[in-house]
Symmetry: C2
Subunit: 147 residues, 2 copies
């Protein structure tokens, strides 16, 4: 059956719950999540909307599944693999399998983006001490990451 | 490998081809297509951006695969199953398996939307005469559809 859910003020959607990004942790800051399409009713993929408040960041992590990201709102930067890129509305970012990644909103803007993933996917893994040594070998990445 | 493609003026993207909606036909009007994520590098789903020029429409069709739609730009209406809904930026529309559907841009606005589908999917089917008789039994649908 078809289903129409309207967009509302404040980047919320009708009948879509506003969720915590993750249950708990100090490895992220000021991130909210809304699952727009959960893959149960149609394409076997999930489309989620994440919004990072100004100054906030997602978890530095990696996993075997890929991410396909489309920015909807605001401004920020992302580490994906060994590259740090600036992000603006409607930019596209693909994160390949196994690549370290982290999103950060600018200090004066939120960063809201769609993230497409397979419905069935592996769990993210955070860096251990050796991973961090390797990541920090690049001064730009050392400066960028928040753990 | 990560890949970043920037958004450009006119709702185009870097390294994304602007494609005809379909090779040919009189059952649609003024529709262009861009494949943002083709499912080859990551999630097994395709994310396409369709843009219908003012007064244009997509094909009236149905298929077994589902659509998950997020409007990005403009204004229009869609038939999905037996319902006609108005569409505005960031509205969500799910079209279930086998449901007849058609998108129309308003006369004074384009309608640009993301459409998420499984990478592997069946081909669309257009209505035959009997289908059209059934669809047109509803006066609102009779008035809406373009074939």
């Amino acid at each position: 059956m078809s289903r129409h859910r309207r967009f509302r003020d404040g980047f919320r959607w009708e009948n879509v719950d506003l969720l915590e990004y993750k249950p708990q942790g100090t490895h992220f800051r000021a991130v909210m999540r809304q699952v727009l399409f959960d893959g149960a009713r149609g394409p076997g993929a999930e489309l989620r909307y994440f919004e990072i408040a100004p100054g906030g960041h997602s978890t530095l992590e990696r996993h075997r599944h890929a991410h396909a990201v489309l920015v909807l709102r605001g401004r920020g930067r992302a580490l994906a693999g060994s590259r740090i890129t600036t992000l603006e509305p409607f930019d596209l970012l693909e994160i390949g399998p196994g690549e370290w990644h982290q999103f950060r909103a600018d200090d004066d803007a939120c960063l809201g983006f769609l993230c497409l993933v397979d419905r069935e996917r592996d769990r993210p893994r955070r860096p251990d001490k050796d991973d961090l040594v390797r990541l920090r070998a690049d001064p730009a990445i050392a400066d960028f990451i928040r753990v």
